[in-house]
């Protein structure tokens, strides 16, 4: 990989100012960025590590009962510490990658990257969470803008994500057999005011909400409610691991399973 300078700020303010430099880029857990740099597909001049910024780490509840996760919090920490408050999300975090990846990879890095097969985007969109950056708050519905594309501006970092906690939720991940990312993953969250269903891994446009299922489940939160629905295969990913029709089938099967398992 190309060489760069590694800087390790301890405050968000210092990180933001370091990111103002030319070709500077944030480094979260490096679990995506480092392999990308090995392929020389990214060549930052400065890497600004978020790992030493305590104000970006940890899991807590705010006054509105929202679960707040610091942008530099690792998947392992979320899996352990969110379990009591938001079991569906903690369980999602525990399905990401493998233990070593979870010990490094961060929620901020995952959301900034917005891999079309990543898990967190489903949890964030499915929860209707708020992505907090150093300069603003972005609603999940506005944040995800297609494969590897987000609302973030250059140099903007995710400092926190605030999750409304649903009554029940569940994430069903069907493994892509090689990468073990989601071949398709469905997050279902039942709130007092309605149900959200977010799907990752399936669409060429990245994570999306399955509104037909949301409506049906909001009216009747049971597996039967989904029975009559079917997902159109248009616009779904076609690759070695699954055809669009196959992914469309998975969307439905996994939604049913998530409803069944929701807790």
């Amino acid at each position: 990989m190309h060489n760069f300078e590694l800087v390790k700020p301890t405050t968000i303010a210092d990180a933001v100012s370091a990111l103002g430099g030319e070709d500077a880029q944030a480094l979260g857990g490096g679990q995506t960025l480092i392999p990308t740099m090995k392929q020389r597909l990214a060549a930052p001049a400065v890497l600004v590590s978020t790992a030493g910024i305590d104000e970006m780490k940890g899991v807590c509840l705010d006054d509105n009962g929202r679960l707040c996760i610091g942008g530099a919090t690792t998947h392992a920490t979320v899996a352990a510490e969110a379990a009591a408050h938001y079991p569906g999300l903690a369980a999602l975090a525990s399905t990401i990658g493998d233990p070593a990846v979870r010990n490094r990879g961060t929620i901020g890095g995952s959301l900034a990257n917005n891999d079309p097969a990543a898990c967190y985007p489903a949890g964030v969109l499915g929860s209707g969470a708020m992505v907090v950056t150093n300069s603003r708050e972005i609603a999940a519905d506005d944040y995800f803008q297609g494969m590897f594309t987000t609302a973030l501006d250059e140099g903007e970092i995710i400092t926190e994500v605030k999750f409304p906690v649903p009554e029940k939720s569940n994430y069903q991940k069907f493994l892509q057999p090689a990468s073990r990312f989601a071949l398709t993953g469905v997050f279902v969250a039942k709130f007092g005011g309605g149900v959200r269903v977010a799907i990752t891994g399936a669409s060429e446009d990245g994570v999306f909400r399955w509104t037909a299922a949301e409506e049906a489940l909001s009216a009747d939160f049971s597996t039967g409610a989904v029975d009559g629905l079917s997902m159109a295969a248009d616009g779904l990913i076609n690759d070695l691991h699954g055809t669009p029709a196959y992914r469309a089938n998975l969307c439905k099967v996994l939604t049913v399973r998530a409803v069944n398992a929701a807790a």
Binding site: M1, H2, N3, F4, E5, L6, K8, G30, Q31, I34, P35, M37, K38, Q39, L47, S49, A51, A76, G97, D98, P99, A100, V101, N103, R104, S179, R180
Partner: protein
């Protein structure tokens, strides 16, 4: 170049590294600890797993500079104080949990991390935990048994004739 210092297998070490120097390269090339292996460039094989501050980490996917001030344990640090093999290492030998030995350091380090979290894992828990460690030789059967044995669970002896 910047200077990094860390404790590796209980010894303080330091060295000059570039920003891009990976922990795996620092261990292998600067410290001569070639037990940590590199089997891929996409962070997937797990041959490079070490412990950083007590947690399993892929040494190929963390920069040496990020580990400044950390405690690092590698396969070379897993033996008992008297030099004999530690419990997990011994179980891998006893239950034939290795063949070519290339994945082995990462397997042992992952197994150690698992047993620290979960002292008596089931077969399914072991298999799940090893998701990020690929072995091409053993078919995993004897690795699973070695880890069960290392955790004190009853395991039938190898290959009774």
């Amino acid at each position: 170049m910047t200077t990094v210092s860390m404790t590796v297998n209980g010894k303080s070490v330091s060295g000059d590294v570039e920003g891009r120097t990976l922990l795996s390269a620092f261990l292998r090339e600067d410290l001569g600890l070639t037990g940590t292996h590199v089997g891929c460039d996409t962070s997937q094989c797990g041959a490079c797993v070490v412990h950083v501050d007590g947690k399993a980490v892929k040494a190929c996917s963390v920069f040496a500079g990020e580990c400044d001030g950390s405690e690092v344990t590698t396969i070379e640090g897993m033996a008992n104080a008297d030099g004999s093999m530690g419990t997990i290492q011994q179980a891998f030998q006893d239950y034939h949990g290795l063949q070519c030995g290339f994945c082995t350091p990462g397997m042992v380090m992952s197994a150690a991390a698992l047993l620290a979290e979960n002292p008596t894992p089931s077969e399914a828990e072991i298999r799940h935990y090893l998701e990020g460690n690929i072995c091409r030789c053993t078919g995993y059967h004897n690795i699973v048994r070695a880890i069960q044995a290392a955790s004190g669970q009853d395991v039938a002896p190898v290959a009774a004739e």
